[in-house]
C-alpha cells in the first residue's frame, strides 16, 4: 500500500481486509477500562480541517489519542483564501513542525491528492473528505459495519452482498469512495437517485443504476442513505422536498420491503423527514450509532498501519503479532 490514503481506489483487496481485520482487533480496546495504546507515542498527527466537520474530526482525534499520538488541530477554515496559497503555505508550516501524518478535510476535490503529490510535505496524507471526490475512511467504516452484520470474521469480504446507495450520488464523496471499496471487496453496488443527481458517465462505473427505489429494496442486503441538501432543490436537481421524499425517502413501508437481515445505514448527519423517517432512523436495523463507533476503530487501524511501522499488503506479512502485543 502507498504512503498515503487519498482514494479508496488506492486500496487493494488485501490492503482493505488488513485494515478491517486490524480495526476489528483494535475495536476490542474500546471495551477496556484503559483505552490507550502506546503505538504512536512521539509521532505527530495534524488534523487539518479546511471545512467544518465535528463528527469526522472528533473521530480522528479520538483514534489518534487512543494510539498516543501527539495531536495538533489545525483549523484552516476562513484562511482558505481565493488563491490556493493557503494550502501550500500551511503544508510547508506543518512540514516544518515535523508532522508525520496530515489528516486533511478540504472543500476542494483533489486537495489531498495535490498535497500527497507535491513536495510540500513529507508525511503521510490521509483524506478525511475532499469536495465531492472521496472520503475513504468513511467507506472503510461502512464496509466494516456491513461485514460485521453480513459476513463477520477476520479475512472475510463482502462477496456477493448487494449494497444499495440512495440519494445525492452526484455530490457525494461517500458514494465515490464506497463504490471503489465495496467492489474491491466483492460486493454488488446499486445506486438509486433521480437522473439529475447521478454523475455523468456513471454507466461506466462498476455498479448498477436505478431510478426506482422500490424495485431494488427486496434485493438489498445493506441500504445506505446519502444526505440530500435542501439547496439542491433550489438548483432544480429535484422539484420539491415532498416529491423527493416520496420517490427516494426511506420510511417504514419501504423498510418492510427489505429482507429480514438487511441493515439501513447513513453517514450522518441525518435529515429526518425528507430522506429518512424517524421510524427508520430509530429502528434497531439502523446502524448510524454503530457506524460512529466503528469509525474510531477503522481510523485507528489506518493510522496504525500507515504510521506504526507496519506495512500494508503489497509488501509483507502484516505486523499482526505486534498488534496483539500492543493490545495487551
Amino acid at each position: 500500500m502507498k504512503r498515503h490514503l487519498v482514494s479508496a481506489a488506492d486500496l487493494t483487496r488485501d490492503d482493505a481486509l488488513l485494515i478491517l481485520d486490524t480495526a476489528e482487533e483494535l475495536a476490542q480496546l474500546s471495551g477496556r477500562a484503559v483505552k490507550k495504546l502506546p503505538t504512536l507515542r512521539g509521532r505527530t498527527v495534524v488534523n487539518l480541517f479546511f471545512e467544518d466537520s465535528t463528527r469526522t474530526k472528533t473521530s480522528f482525534e479520538v483514534a489518534e489519542k487512543r494510539l498516543s499520538a501527539d495531536v495538533i488541530n489545525f483549523s484552516a477554515k476562513g484562511s482558505s483564501v481565493s488563491k490556493g496559497e493557503s494550502l501550500k503555505d500551511t503544508a510547508l508550516t506543518l512540514q516544518a513542525m515535523g508532522a508525520d501524518a496530515v489528516v486533511i478535510r478540504h472543500h476542494a476535490s483533489g486537495a489531498p491528492a495535490r498535497l500527497a503529490q507535491s513536495d510540500w510535505l513529507r508525511g503521510s496524507v490521509i483524506n478525511a473528505g475532499d469536495g465531492t471526490h472521496e472520503h475513504p475512511t468513511q467507506a472503510l467504516l461502512d464496509a466494516f459495519t456491513m461485514r460485521r452484520h453480513l459476513n463477520p470474521g477476520n479475512g472475510r469480504d463482502l462477496a456477493g452482498r448487494r449494497i444499495t446507495i440512495v440519494g445525492d450520488v452526484l455530490h457525494s464523496r461517500v458514494a465515490r469512495s464506497n463504490v471503489h471499496l465495496l467492489t474491491t471487496l466483492g460486493a454488488e453496488v446499486t445506486f438509486v437517485a433521480p437522473p439529475t443527481l447521478m454523475p455523468i458517465g456513471i454507466e461506466n462505473w462498476p455498479c448498477q443504476v436505478s431510478y426506482d427505489l422500490d424495485a431494488v429494496l427486496p434485493k438489498t442486503d445493506a441500504l445506505m442513505m446519502l444526505r440530500v441538501q435542501r439547496e439542491r432543490m433550489n438548483a432544480a436537481f429535484f422539484p420539491t422536498e415532498r416529491e423527493y421524499s416520496r420517490r427516494y425517502g426511506m420510511d417504514g413501508i419501504r423498510m418492510a420491503q427489505l429482507p429480514e437481515h438487511a441493515i439501513v445505514m447513513h453517514p450522518g448527519p441525518m435529515v429526518r423527514g425528507m430522506e429518512i423517517t424517524a421510524e427508520v432512523a430509530d429502528s434497531p436495523r439502523c446502524t448510524v450509532v454503530e457506524q460512529v463507533a466503528n469509525g474510531v476503530s477503522v481510523r485507528m487501524a489506518v493510522l496504525y498501519l500507515l504510521l506504526g511501522g507496519a506495512v500494508f499488503a503489497d509488501n509483507a506479512e502484516p505486523a499482526r503479532t505486534e498488534t496483539n502485543e500492543a493490545a495487551q
Binding site: 488563491k83 476535490s109 454523475p199 462505473w205
Partner: protein, 430 residues
C-alpha cells in the same frame, strides 16, 4: 540593415533553395545564389515557413506584468516563430478604449520582436452589457479589426447581434469565447467520465456548442463576420462545418493543446492542465485534428495564457485557468498534424500564418515567400528532438503542460520584415 543569405532551405517542405533577404524583403530566391550577405545561414535540414500569426495571445500588460509583458510575450512569440500576435483585451484596465489599445500597440512597435495587433473588447469592462467604443478602437493607431470579450462569453443575444452588425462598418470581426454561463457555473473541467469520477464540476460540451450554434445563426442573419475562438468539441466542429456549407462568413480556431491533450490528464489534479475551454476527450481531439486538416477549422491559435507560479502551485479548484503556448505551438502542430500525415508544411503555413492573417486583416503578414514580399519568415528544424524545458522559455511564466515531454522540432530563426529576432535558436538582442 543587415542582409542574410539562407542556403539550401526547404521552402514549405518543397525543393531546397537559397533565400536572399535585404532591406526587409525577399530579394532573391533560387538555387546557388552568389550574392554577398552580412550573415550566411546554413539552411540544410530546415524548413522555411512564412512568419506565424497568432489570433489569440494574452500578453497581460497592462495590469499583470508579473505574469507577462508585451516585451517578454513578444520575445516568446519570436522564439515560437511568430511575427504577429493578436493581444487579447482582458487586461487591467480592459482594452476597451482607443487609449489602451494604442498603448499595447505602441509597446509592440517599440520592442520590435513581433507585431502586436490589439484585440478590442466587445463590451465595456468585458461585462457583456454595453458595447465598447468599437469604432474609436478601429480608428486609433492600433487599427483594431478583431473584437473579443475573450475569457468571457458575450452571452446576451442582443448585444452579440449588435456587435456583429456594428463592426460591419469597418470590416471587423467578433471573436467569441463560446461558453454558456449558466451551464458552466462551478465548472472546473470537461463534463464527462473523468469529471464524474473526480468529483469536479463539469463544463459540458453543449455549453460551447449551444453558443456557437446561436452565433452562426446570428452572423448569418445580420450578414456579418464571426470568428469562433478555441473550438474544443466534436459538436462545435459539426456546427462550424454546417455554417460553412451554408456559405456563411464563419471562421474558427483551435489551440495546440486541444489537438494533443485530453481530460484524462486531469486525473493528476495538477492545475497545469486547467484551461478554458477545458481539455476534452480523445474523440474530440480526433475531430479537431480532422477539421483542421480539412479546413473546417481555419487556424491554430495558441491562447497563450501566462500565469505566475503561485496561481498554479495550489489545489485545482482555486488555480488559474490557462497555459503558455507560443514557444511550443509549432512543435505540437508538427507532432499532431504533420507527423501524423494529416497536414503538410504548406497546410501548416496556411493554418498558422495565411488564414489567421486574413481573419485579422493583417495585410503585411501571412504573405507568400516570394521576391518582393516582406521577409516575415521562420526557419524550423523538424528533425530536432528534445524534452521541453520551461526554464529556457522567454515567456515570463512557466505554466506549460509539456514540461519534460519530448516534442519534435525547434525554431531555428525568425525574421520580422527582414530583421532576425531569433538566430540559431536564441533571441537576438534588438
Amino acid at each position: 540593415m543587415t542582409s542574410y543569405l539562407i542556403r539550401n532551405v526547404q521552402i514549405l517542405g518543397g525543393a531546397a533553395k537559397d533565400i536572399h533577404i535585404a532591406d526587409g524583403v525577399f530579394q532573391e530566391i533560387g538555387e546557388g545564389l552568389t550574392v554577398e550577405a552580412d550573415i550566411d545561414i546554413d539552411g540544410h535540414g530546415l524548413i522555411a515557413l512564412p512568419g506565424l500569426v497568432d489570433l489569440h495571445t494574452h500578453l497581460r500588460e497592462p495590469g499583470r506584468e508579473d505574469a507577462e509583458t508585451v516585451l517578454t510575450g513578444t520575445q516568446a512569440a519570436a522564439m515560437g516563430g511568430y511575427t504577429a500576435v493578436h493581444a487579447m483585451a482582458n487586461t487591467f484596465p480592459v482594452a476597451d478604449t482607443a487609449g489602451v489599445v494604442e498603448q499595447v500597440w505602441r509597446l509592440g512597435q517599440e520592442h520590435g520582436y513581433c507585431d502586436v495587433q490589439p484585440v478590442g473588447a466587445v463590451t465595456v469592462g468585458l461585462e457583456g452589457k454595453k458595447l465598447a467604443e468599437l469604432g474609436a478602437m478601429h480608428d486609433s493607431a492600433a487599427g483594431v479589426r478583431v473584437f473579443s470579450d475573450d475569457g468571457k462569453c458575450v452571452d446576451d443575444a442582443v448585444i452579440m447581434r449588435r456587435a456583429l452588425e456594428y463592426v460591419k462598418a469597418f470590416d471587423g470581426v467578433v471573436a467569441q469565447h463560446a461558453q454558456e454561463p449558466r451551464l458552466t457555473e462551478g465548472a472546473q473541467m470537461n463534463e464527462g467520465q473523468v469529471s464524474g469520477e473526480l468529483g469536479l464540476g463539469g463544463w459540458p460540451a453543449v455549453a460551447e456548442e449551444s453558443i456557437i450554434a446561436r452565433d452562426v445563426l446570428l452572423a448569418a442573419h445580420v450578414g456579418s463576420r464571426l470568428h469562433v475562438c478555441h473550438l474544443s468539441t466534436a459538436g462545435s466542429v459539426e456546427i462550424v462545418r454546417w455554417a460553412k456549407q451554408k456559405g456563411w462568413n464563419v471562421t474558427a480556431e483551435v489551440t495546440p493543446h486541444h489537438l494533443l491533450l485530453t481530460d484524462e490528464m486531469v486525473r493528476s489534479y495538477d492545475p497545469v492542465y486547467k484551461v478554458n475551454p477545458p481539455l476534452r476527450t480523445a474523440a474530440d481531439v480526433e475531430a479537431l485534428r480532422a477539421a483542421l486538416a480539412d479546413g473546417t477549422i481555419d487556424a491554430v491559435a495558441t491562447d497563450h495564457a501566462p500565469h505566475p507560479a503561485e496561481d498554479k502551485d495550489c489545489e485545482w479548484a482555486v488555480a488559474a485557468m490557462g497555459m503558455v503556448g507560443l514557444e511550443t505551438a509549432l512543435s505540437v502542430v508538427q507532432q499532431t498534424m504533420v507527423d501524423t500525415g494529416l497536414l503538410n508544411w504548406e497546410g501548416v503555413a496556411d493554418r498558422m500564418s495565411r488564414r489567421p492573417a486574413r481573419i485579422g486583416r493583417l495585410t503585411g503578414q501571412g504573405r507568400p515567400i516570394s521576391v518582393g514580399e516582406p521577409a516575415n519568415l521562420v526557419l524550423f528544424d523538424p528533425a530536432y528532438r528534445g524534452a521541453v524545458n520551461p526554464d529556457s522559455f522567454a515567456t515570463r511564466s512557466r505554466n506549460t503542460p509539456y514540461k519534460g515531454m519530448d516534442l519534435p522540432g525547434r525554431v531555428h530563426a525568425t525574421f520580422l520584415r527582414g530583421k532576425a529576432t531569433v538566430l540559431a535558436g536564441e533571441l537576438v538582442e534588438l
